[in-house]
């Protein structure tokens, strides 16, 4: 045995390895563990567990001690969390929560209202799809007017876009429905809905189309024109095919918003799904029907959102 080698006998202290510094994290963990079971539930317990993990890592990497304290703190933290879960369970079985579930998720009323809601939702979908058809056509048209060489045409288009985008949709729906009725024109509520949604969304989509068109390199139009193609033919065969592809994601998002905005047409009395839900609620005095309305919307909006994400990925690959 050479010098400088301190062979440790069991229980015997070895010079500089005895009485190591105890990790501060370990001490903190223990304190948090105690607090977590008493004055600071949940937060204290979680911190105790977190601190303990940090402490153990530090201890492994350095010469610090305190592993035992860290374990103790972690254990107290876990116990503290368990106590909280137990408490929550107790609360759930009391009146307050029962009442909430009864109000919002009354299965009986919900079940009974499904057929009526479904019919209303068909109207919602019709309104959305038919409006979208006109919106795309009109929106593209306005976009082309907005970039016209004729200053006056550009001006008119800009005014239209600014005014419509500056007003709430609900106001536009009212103005179009009531205003035109006062003028003697007889519109069905559904038609008024389509018209106001079209007028409104076309303004937004015109700007989207315009951005798409302007994002196409000027050289495309130049090359096309220098082959003798007219402006319109160049748009049709060269610029728009490229531009439209680029704006499909934002346009899809607009369609999702449109689907939701159809609910506003309820305020002029069209029996789309939201109005139907409100009426059932008025009769039965529970909110459950509105939960049903929500479920119908989510049934289409969420898949559409995933669809748009998928589209975006595929289109990005192509470019």
């Amino acid at each position: 045995m050479g010098e400088g080698l301190d062979v440790r006998q069991y229980g015997e202290p070895v010079s500089e390895f005895e009485n190591p510094d105890i990790s501060g994290w370990a001490k903190a963990s223990l304190i948090m563990g105690i607090l977590g079971m008493t004055v600071i539930p949940v937060v204290g317990a979680v911190l105790a567990i977190v601190f303990a993990r940090i402490a153990k890592k530090r201890i492994l990497q350095t010469d610090l001690g305190g592993a035992g304290l860290a374990t103790a703190g972690q254990t107290l933290g876990i116990i503290g969390l368990v106590l909280v879960v137990f408490a929550v369970y107790v609360i759930i079985n009391t009146e307050g929560l029962r009442k909430f579930i009864h109000e919002f998720f009354d299965m009986k009323t919900l079940g009974e209202s499904i057929p009526k809601l479904a019919r209303g939702f068909l109207v919602t979908l019709e309104l959305a799809v038919i409006s979208e058809f006109f919106i795309l056509i009109f929106g593209l048209l306005v976009a082309l007017l907005r970039i016209s060489k004729v200053k006056f045409i550009r001006f008119i288009a800009a005014v239209y876009i600014d005014v419509i985008r500056g007003l709430p949709l609900i106001l536009q729906i009212f103005i179009i429905y009531f205003g035109l009725t006062y003028l003697g024109l007889n519109f069905s509520r559904f038609v008024a809905g389509v018209v106001s949604l079209t007028v409104c969304y076309a303004a937004y989509e015109a700007e989207i189309f315009r951005a798409g068109i302007e994002s196409i390199h000027k050289g495309q139009m130049e090359a096309s024109r220098s082959l003798g193609m007219t402006y319109l033919k160049s748009m049709r065969y060269v610029v728009l095919p490229q531009a439209v592809r680029r704006v499909i994601p934002p346009l899809s998002n607009e369609f999702i918003m449109l689907t939701k905005d159809t609910a506003l047409v309820a305020f002029i009395g069209l029996s789309e799904v939201f109005l139907v839900g409100k009426e059932i609620m008025g009769k039965e005095f529970v909110i459950a029907p509105l939960v049903g309305v929500a479920l119908f919307f989510l049934l289409v909006t969420i898949p559409m959102m995933r669809g748009v994400q998928y589209l975006e990925k595929r289109l990005a690959r192509g470019d």
Binding site: A223, R225, S226, L227, M229, Q242
Partner: protein
């Protein structure tokens, strides 16, 4: 074929062209050289109406394109243009790029357009790339497709706007070779370029432009070896010193 009289072009306050007089005869290969900003490209773009002249007259085969009543689309069918950045239509295959204008402008029958397009692609050496998309072609290949596309309308004159400037040096030759064979077939060409070798080999006329004016105009050999104007001398000494 092309007559330019007193052509002026202003961009805002900037005088790009200060009075160009030029006559291009059929079958001539006019090479235009000069420093950046000399107005070479602007002049070229005025010829097919991509830029509007501020003052002056441009007659293409006798038709005054500076006149308001002229149907520029008709004139453009007779003037083909090839661009520095190729400007191929990325959503169409090579052959569809070539057939688009003949089909939609001239109303040619589909099979006939297809056949002619294949011949043109063969002429530029790319018949096996007919169904490739521009994204899958090299720069030199894209430019050759662009040449075929311009030729598809059977123009009487072809304009080339620095068509090799954006190419890798290795790809320049294939494009210049294509242009040379075009010249041999008797096509009237106006070529803006920095490729002096091409000017000497293929050009039948060399024009040096500087600051919006034609400074010198003559046979390539003459202008190269015996420049008259001091600015011309200066330009060539700088360029040719590091070829």
């Amino acid at each position: 074929m092309i007559r330019i009289v007193g052509l002026h072009k202003k961009f805002g306050d900037f005088d790009a062209l200060k009075g160009i007089d030029l006559d291009v005869m059929p079958q001539q290969v006019v090479v235009v050289v000069g420093p950046s900003g000399s107005g070479k490209s602007t002049m070229l773009r005025c010829i097919n109406g991509l830029e509007q002249a501020t003052r002056g007259q441009i007659l293409v085969e006798g038709i005054d394109i500076t006149h308001r009543a002229t149907d520029i689309n008709q004139v453009r069918q007779k003037v083909g243009m090839v661009f520095q950045s190729f400007n191929l239509f990325p959503h169409l295959t090579a052959i569809k790029n070539v057939t688009l204008a003949p089909l939609k402008v001239k109303g040619i029958d589909h099979d006939e357009a297809d056949e002619k397009a294949r011949e043109l692609l063969k002429k530029v050496g790319l018949e096996d790339k007919a169904d490739a998309f521009p994204a899958h072609l090299s720069g030199g290949q894209q430019q050759r497709v662009a040449i075929a596309r311009a030729l598809a309308m059977e123009p009487d004159v072809m304009l080339f706007d620095e068509v090799t400037s954006a190419l890798d040096p290795e790809l320049v030759k294939e494009v210049l070779d294509t242009m040379q064979s075009l010249a041999r077939e008797g096509m009237t060409m106006v070529v803006v370029t920095h490729e002096m070798g091409f000017a000497k080999e293929v050009g039948s006329r060399l024009i040096f432009m500087d600051e919006g004016l034609v400074v010198e105009d003559g046979l390539p050999a003459d202008v190269f070896n015996n420049p008259q104007h001091p600015r011309t001398k200066e330009f060539f000494s700088k360029i040719l010193s590091h070829i």
